[in-house]
């Protein structure tokens, strides 16, 4: 379980988070929505320990992330996957090498086992044909799917998705949403998603929290949020949004 309690964070002169509190139960996809610059990605970076809060608590499975030393943090990160907005693939490695990277660095698997595992996840995200290609020569959607494969290859318990459909057309977006839902249903992975997209939130989310002024302003299940009269819920999940 991921749990944030009263987290505050100031970056430069801007107060980004101010009392951010929410919990993501195991096996669920929790969607964070909100206007740009309200601290959605900053929240994800707290969960994986790239940023430390000024105040408040960030816990994963009861362990306080900001209090972890380097070794504990590395151990936590091995149990987590992170999908960046643009995939953040290493440019000089092929898609296959990118996906194999976390296994080659940390697992004791042999070369053949790594290759099998990599091709298994590439097949799952529909990228087995692009295994030999390099990031500059593939599309944005393929980069995201490769990023997702890299996040999943270590069989993580948690995956954090930072705008998984940013800049993608509706068809590719829909495929990505299906993949994220499949990861939860088939592999039992707990997900924390950041998105602006109504389709993404409703197709992959179990619970939705909308951020305003650095904290969760309204939260509920997908159905509750769609039915809500709250202006933020209407703005992000109303019929005309997306």
């Amino acid at each position: 379980m991921i749990e944030l309690r009263d987290v505050t964070k100031r970056l430069g002169t801007r107060q980004i988070l101010e009392g951010m509190t929410f919990a993501v139960p195991k096996g669920m996809n929790y969607v964070l929505m909100g206007p740009s610059g309200t601290g959605k990605s900053v929240t994800l970076r707290h969960v994986i320990g790239i940023l430390k809060p000024d105040q408040g608590s960030v816990q994963v499975d009861g362990q306080e992330v900001p209090a972890m030393d380097r070794e504990q943090l590395m151990a936590l990160r091995r149990r987590m996957g992170y999908l960046f907005q643009n995939g953040a693939l290493i440019n000089w490695l092929s898609v296959e090498q990118n996906v194999a990277l976390p296994l080659e660095e940390h697992s004791k698997l042999g070369k053949g086992e790594v290759r099998d595992r990599v091709h298994e996840v590439l097949r799952m995200v529909g990228l087995q044909q692009a295994a030999e290609q390099f990031p500059p020569s593939i599309s944005g959607g393929m980069k995201l799917r490769a990023g997702l494969a890299r996040a999943l290859v270590t069989q993580p318990e948690y995956v954090l998705y930072d705008e998984p459909n940013a800049g993608l057309d509706p068809i590719i977006s829909h495929q990505i949403h299906q993949l994220i839902a499949e990861v939860r249903d088939r592999l039992g992975v707990t997900g924390l998603l950041v998105t602006h997209s109504r389709a993404c939130a409703t197709e992959c989310g179990d619970r939705i929290g909308i951020i305003e002024k650095g904290k969760i302003a309204i939260e509920g299940t997908v159905e509750e949020m769609i039915a809500s009269d709250h202006p933020l819920a209407k703005a992000f999940l109303g019929g005309g949004s997306d």
Binding site: I50, R77, R78, Y82, F84, A88, L89, N91, E105
Partner: protein
């Protein structure tokens, strides 16, 4: 803006940067046990750095040696002592000019590209991606680059020395009437006078080159790792890398010379 506040902010930023570079150097040294794992990448980088810098370094070294012989030859001719031209050219190239030329060219060609590569990775979240995969960017990215330049800077310096002396010998023969054999004999005498296997004039120069190679790569990677804000940030990182590398080459060159020739 208050001038005291401005000076304080500027000073603090410089101290921050210097601290980051020193910290990166220490972390790189403590990452040395990973070298076996990064060996292939380091050798690839060394090969690329050598290939990229070799033509320019050789051209500049040849002309630097020629200019050195020309300038000193003009004065020596007045005293009728052009026979020591080989000694002067060889000592100047091996002690100072060879490492300096190689260092500056490596900073401009390889250091700048290191800062650009690492900076682009930083602003496009690739460094964060490595961190969240528990891959330490220092041993994955910085260590192979530092090892590559620590190998290539002395290697290119040795070649620069040779080509520079050769350039001087051409000028000595063509313009100052010193025969090739006399020039090279004089150069050889100067470099082997101490009867050591590796003469001091050579090893001090090569040691300087080693220090320059490490300094250029650490400073360039540090500039890249501190890049922020997209293409503009990467451009600034490249500028910072080249400026700081050249500054360090001059300062470290002075310190090493002082240490070996005046602290005895």
């Amino acid at each position: 803006m208050n001038p005291f506040s401005f000076t304080g902010t500027a000073l603090r930023s410089r101290i921050d940067s210097a601290g980051f570079v020193v910290d990166l150097l220490v972390r790189t040294v403590t990452s040395l046990p990973y070298l076996g794992r990064r060996r292939r990448f380091a050798l690839d980088m060394a090969f690329n750095a050598g290939v990229r810098a070799l033509p320019v370094t050789m051209i500049v070294a040849a002309f630097a040696g020629a200019i050195l012989a020309m300038q000193t030859g003009i004065e020596l001719r007045r005293f009728g002592d052009t026979g020591v031209l080989g000694t002067i050219t060889a000592l100047s190239m091996c002690r100072e000019m060879g490492p300096f030329i190689t260092g500056v060219i490596l900073a401009a060609t390889v250091g700048s590209s290191m800062a650009a590569e690492v900076g682009t990775m930083k602003v496009s979240d690739e460094i964060s991606a490595l961190e969240v995969m528990s891959v330490d960017p220092v041993n994955y990215l910085v260590l192979p680059r530092v090892v590559a330049l620590a190998i290539m800077c002395p290697t290119l310096t040795a070649l620069s020395n040779l080509v520079g002396i050769f350039g001087g010998s051409i000028i000595a023969q063509q313009n100052l009437g010193v025969s090739q054999s006399r020039f090279w004999m004089s150069a050889q005498d100067a470099l082997t006078s101490s009867a050591m296997l590796l003469p001091k004039e050579l090893y001090v120069g090569l040691f300087k080159a080693l220090i320059f190679g490490i300094a250029i790569s650490v400073v360039s990677c540090a500039a890249g790792l501190r890049a922020t804000g997209g293409a503009l940030g990467v451009g600034l990182a490249v500028q910072t890398a080249v400026r700081n590398s050249v500054l360090l080459i001059i300062v470290l060159g002075f310190i090493v010379t002082w240490f070996f020739y005046f602290l005895e």
